[in-house]
Symmetry: C2
Subunit: 199 residues, 2 copies
């Protein structure tokens, strides 16, 4: 039997709520379904962080105390603008990613992966409104219009809600399609948007 | 111009994370898009609550201090089993709903609306695995397979992720389709599940 997979989701001030809670819900449901996965949220410091839309959340552990991770997930949100210059966070991402099976981002979390040097030469995506900005950083091939892009062991998702789809794909990769379907059913993920998103 | 709409999302121990964060993300994005909506989380007591999958969240305000609400949203999660017997919470829901424009639930949050007497004679839905249990409480017509059901000013959504779709529908009802589309685009909600949910 495969040893237990541990997923770590980075939290930081002004991380976007659904960027991390969508994947959290998918992985935590996979914990219930499989009994062979753990998921933890990780922040630089102890105490509440205020997410981008104002929700206050307390992470499970800190960068310094985080367990060995197999999957790293970096959410986006306006806070990424500050965190790319946070040496403690960026070096932790770099060091942690080096021993992960999968390295992933949601939305503008891709900017943190880029700063950590993890996207060099990769096909990637990010929030639709930030693709030009990411592309301008260089060294990557931007895949516009993709829901998520896998290149080697790096998976970057499009904006906010795309983290749900990417996380389900990862469950399929870590376990199998049947497990992913069970997780999907547990969160009744048969989306039916009442409008189309194009404006 | 329409006066500002205030949305209140109830939090309680073991509320399901995506049940409340999905709608939170939609309403908070509508706050940004419209400048004419507020959204607050409300819990019985101050201090962190632990959600159903283990995430710790601190609500914006308490039942006693909550502002006048126009939209009430009750999430589900295993905690609903305890909260239906919490007189303080159930009577707050009943009293608050009486002056709301819209009264809504996600997933098994419908059980709290039922206990508060708000579903009598209504067409409703809940998480697919709990429809028989809700129907057995009586006085309602269960609509299985619906993503969300509107009956008068009560809107009940199916499980977990369905709260996102319902909330977008509500943005369309509170504002207009164009506003809902702008919110949807801001969270890049063009879902593409990699698997189908049926098992």
């Amino acid at each position: 039997m495969k040893s237990k997979t541990t997923v770590g989701i980075l939290l930081f001030e002004n991380a976007e709520e659904l960027d991390f809670v969508g994947p959290w819900e998918v992985f935590a449901s996979a914990r219930v379904v499989t009994g062979n996965l753990d998921v933890v949220t990780v922040s630089e410091k102890e105490g509440p962080i205020r997410a981008a839309k104002g929700m206050q959340v307390i992470a499970d552990t800190t960068l310094a105390r985080a367990p060995k991770l197999d999957v790293l997930l970096i959410p986006g949100g306006d806070g990424r603008r500050k965190e790319v210059d946070n040496e403690v966070v960026v070096s932790w991402i770099k060091k942690t990613a080096a021993t992960c099976e999968w390295v992933t981002s949601v939305c503008t979390g891709a900017f943190l992966l880029h700063r950590a040097g993890l996207l060099h030469g990769k096909n990637v995506t990010t929030h639709w409104s930030r693709t030009d900005e990411l592309e301008a950083l260089g060294g990557i091939t931007l895949r516009r219009g993709a829901r998520y892009v896998r290149d080697g062991n790096v998976v970057t998702a499009a904006g906010v809600s795309a983290g749900i789809d990417m996380s389900l794909w990862l469950i399929g990769a870590l376990f199998d399609a049947e497990t992913a379907r069970r997780v999907q059913k547990s969160i009744e993920y048969a989306p039916a948007p009442p409008y189309t998103a194009e404006v």
